[in-house]
Assembly symmetry: C3
Homo-oligomer: 313 residues x 3
């Protein structure tokens, strides 16, 4: 297919064919990370602004490295140092960045919809690096790439997502991607955080861990951000570990080839036992590596670079 989208704002609006093109292009870029010289000239002379209004080390670094490997010029614009804190509006900040001839704005923001808003007021390409509890499309893409690499396919797999689904943008983007690509999705966690209403998205909802993991081919554990959780909805940390932490005993209940995913950083001993995180079932580090490939692919495609067959630089 010919890529025509100007922005990457969410997974929800992507077609199956677009998802496949993103993943195929990412596969082509994976080899760049394995070369002696990890660099291609695709974005040479282009300016990318990383506009992180909500702090993030991992996602920011992953984008920055992806941009460096595409030879872009990069501006790091974090809110802490900025006039956004002095009351300037997001729109003014973004239009100023565009007036600096920015070609791409990669935005993380605590407000759902901020990237969509920017895409309406700017001429620049916009990539959503996580907006509120809404979506985190490149995280879903790296998860899909990792599943496809390890399992050979996504369609027909049983994928369980475990944790605070209600407030997780990772969960939402994963759900869209997985259901579009034909996986059977199970959501599990405390009932306050995994409401039955998610069934409308085509998922199974359960609040019993054993039921959720028994037939899973893939178990995706969300990070518990206890310091940020709503106190009234979240059980105590001990209670969560007791009910939903992935311990060795519980791992024994899963299929022997069930793979364990986590978007990182891991709270060892909370959502996952430390040995499991480092074990052979875990693909946590492969997810990190694949993050570079999908971000390079997203930048490349929306820049008009063509499909995966065009990556041969």
């Amino acid at each position: 297919m010919i890529w025509t989208r100007k922005h990457l704002l969410d997974i929800e609006s992507l077609s199956v064919e677009e998802l496949a093109t993103l993943l195929d292009t990412a596969m082509a870029f994976k080899s760049v990370g394995e070369r002696a010289i990890k660099k291609v000239p695709a974005l040479r002379g282009k300016t990318v602004v990383n506009l992180f209004v909500e702090p993030s080390t991992r996602t920011r670094i992953s984008f920055e490295l992806s941009e460096q490997r595409l030879s872009a010029d990069i501006i790091d614009f974090t809110a802490e140092a900025s006039s956004l804190k002095k009351g300037e509006t997001l729109k003014d900040t973004a239009r100023t960045l565009e007036a600096l001839n920015a070609d791409f704005i990669v935005i993380r923001h605590s407000a759902s919809g901020a990237p969509h808003f920017l895409s309406r007021v700017l001429d620049a390409h916009v990539i959503n690096a996580g907006d509120g509890a809404h979506e985190h499309p490149t995280q879903a893409l790296l998860d899909m790439l990792t599943i496809r690499e390890k399992k050979g396919r996504i369609a027909g797999l049983n994928v369980t997502i475990l944790g605070d689904i209600l407030y997780s943008r990772v969960a939402r983007s994963d759900i869209w991607a997985l259901t579009k690509l034909g996986a059977h999705v199970t959501l599990c966690g405390p009932s306050t955080l995994v409401p039955k209403s998610f069934e409308r998205l085509g998922c199974r909802v359960t609040h019993r861990l054993e039921e959720a993991i028994r037939d899973a081919d893939v178990i995706n554990l969300l990070r518990i951000q206890h310091e940020r959780q709503r106190r009234s909805m979240f059980p105590s940390l001990n209670e969560y570990v007791n009910l939903f932490g992935l311990s060795k005993q519980r791992l024994a209940l899963t299929k022997p080839d069930a793979m364990i995913m986590h978007p990182g950083p891991v709270n060892r001993g909370v959502e996952i036992d430390s040995d499991i995180a480092d074990g052979e079932r875990s693909v946590i580090l492969q997810q990190v590596t694949n993050g570079l490939a999908v971000r390079m692919a997203a930048l490349f495609l929306i820049n008009g670079g063509g499909g995966p067959q065009a990556v041969a630089v």
Copy 2:
């Protein structure tokens, strides 16, 4: 003309011919920002240190992008993270940066004269990115470039600068540039902040807004930094808006082609009505774009790059 200055410290000491060379060279660099590959090799292998002892997001990013587009190696040295906070002197910091083979020091400092001081103790090129209430020469250059582009000339124009003139380095640099280039400058604002003594610089001083804007071809609104204003000299914010804010009613009193400038970031509803800031008379975003061009020009010229005809890379 042949450019011979080693530093860009202020507008006051520049000749009319030097100002014209800077603007002509900036025009040549404007086209670089419009190309697919926004990059020239002029400063390849040169090291530029951005020494921002006073915080600034916009000016720092504008310099950084200008340096990237000239292919320089860039070190970001902000005071927050530095030994300057541990009591090291500016001289020691600067000489250390020079010992790292820095070719250029771009300095912003709260003390007037800091760039001049550095130019005396260093061999490196020094560019003033704003010093105290003294000068902000690249801001004046981008203002001149924007006026010249929009109006075709500067000589003979009526230019009004509105706001806290007394403590504004932007106003001082603009006054020097405008009067050198033959504009008629009017200053307006509260009497405590726009003393009659500015008439000695060749300006008209008035404290009545209507009088200041009636015949203006260009109206330049300074940013009100209310949190930093001297309380005893500054009226309340409401009083300022009532007396000097550029509202639609007041805009109607101006010439139909009077252009509206602002160095940003804009306080919408304070010094300017939000609709005017976004309206067709406003050139605020063009000013941002032109900032890149004048900074590239300044770096290029003091590096010994030749005049505007040499930019053809």
Copy 3:
């Protein structure tokens, strides 16, 4: 010799031949800093992560410029902005960075042994940029390069290190390098901070300044970090200046060609008189310049670049 080490973790484990190769390679890189285009392609397409868990402006900038001049892609990972502060382990952080295809991790950490630990759990090259009170190998290398340049040799010289030896990683690395290379090392400072036990490393220990400096060819003054010193062990600042500060009167007691070193930043009027720091005996700024050369050399050699004769790019 053929360089075979994968990491640069300390001076203690280096052979005399390895030290000589590092210094010879650094000399070859010094010329790069004096060229018009201060850049070689040796690390093009390689990713270097500067993982500074303990803040440092000078060392970080020196590494960053060295990496830029070798054309590497650079990620700045400071602890302040990172998930390390949220309780992630150093191991998880480092393995994540490696999963981003990092080729080099340059680490500064307050815990002695952190770089050695990383070298055991990672495939990436590790460079120690200072670990606790243990070692700071590139500082020792730049000190050796500076002595060799100025004195023509190191063997047989009398080198005095003055200050808080007990808690200084600079002192430890210098002692290892100097004694391996055949210098006679004298340590001097308050008895609480310069214990007799250092004699086991092959040094002379004295608590009388005059005795320490009388025959010195090189006097290396450590920075007094009074805010961080252990109160119970450290005399008052006044007392320190009186007993161990290098004043003009004391300088007159030294050999006329004794050279004065300091790792910076200097506390003028504390460990050294301001005029001496700026005087002709001082090599403080040469040390800064040499820091770039030794860091380029270290990155180049552990990358497998060959010996000094291979630098001719």
